[in-house]
Symmetry: C2
Subunit: 144 residues, 2 copies
DNA sequence: TTGTCTGCAAAACATTTGCACCTAT
DNA sequence: ATAGGTGCAAATGTTTTGCAGACAA
């Protein structure tokens, strides 16, 4: 007789860390919710330094990361830490993986009125007909 | 008699540097034109190291910057060196200045079919209904 | 008590820069 | 001869991490 025992180990990906109350973290979130200037970590640090004189920049970064993981705020930049270059100057869009930083081209027609509207509304001079989308690439989705 | 002499000094903004031939720069451009994987500076360095054993990473960066200034290639990332955070999770778009890194919100309807098409074509899982545009903000345009 | 949070300083990381020498024009 | 170009190493600026002590559950 053969007995086969399969032990199924479930690994919870949504890191099952039990977060404690952290006043600093709370305040960081409040600060970001009440400010639409898309602050940097350093700006947050400067603000909260007044409130918590001993505050450390490391704490700000750690908490921003936690809040991002919890989905309570978003990091606007792509995730990749290094610049990527493109020798193809024809109009095309980019789609960037927030985890591994890989970039794919995307050929799709986007109504030009969007760009005109954006330029009129914001006063920006835009890269012509080029949008960037962020997300997770197939490889990183599988690893998840 | 009063003689007034006005000397008009024209400052050419398109930096009037006379570029010399540089084999390294030529090869960097060729490499980027023939490769659609959106390489990083480091990747370029590794490739050309075979060809120019004494090559320095600084040279790669310097030439990438020059080629970008000359409009012969584009840097896909935003330009800002620091991350920016957003506590507003409602669907809205971002428009980022490549020079100073400032971020503005953009409220505009973008046809959802774009996102569906992008996901189908690339296999990415996208940030919902969010696009990013790059360009120069009004302040930086004035400084130019 | 346990696991999380924090400050501090050092490390990591991509990118830039100063300097002395080399090279194209 | 002169203005760029290059290699090297050091510096820069942002973000991460190791550690020991503090704190919340």
């Amino acid at each position: 007789m053969i007995i086969v025992t399969i032990i199924k180990i479930e690994i919870t990906m949504n890191s099952s860390i039990k977060r404690k109350n952290s006043i600093r973290r709370e305040r960081i979130l409040e600060l970001l919710r009440s400010n639409h200037a898309h602050p940097t970590a350093d700006w947050v640090y400067d603000q909260l330094k007044k409130e918590f004189p001993g505050l450390s920049l490391g704490t700000v970064y750690r908490n921003l990361k936690i809040l991002e993981e919890e989905g309570k705020l978003q990091n606007i930049h792509g995730g990749s830490t290094f610049d990527r270059y493109d020798g193809d100057l024809s109009p095309h869009h980019h789609i960037i993986c927030e985890r591994c930083g890989c970039v794919m081209d995307l050929n799709a027609a986007v109504d030009d009125s969007l760009f005109r509207k954006a330029e009129n509304e914001t006063g920006f001079q835009l890269r012509p007909s080029q949008i960037t989308l962020y997300g997770l690439c197939p490889k990183c989705l599988n690893k998840k």
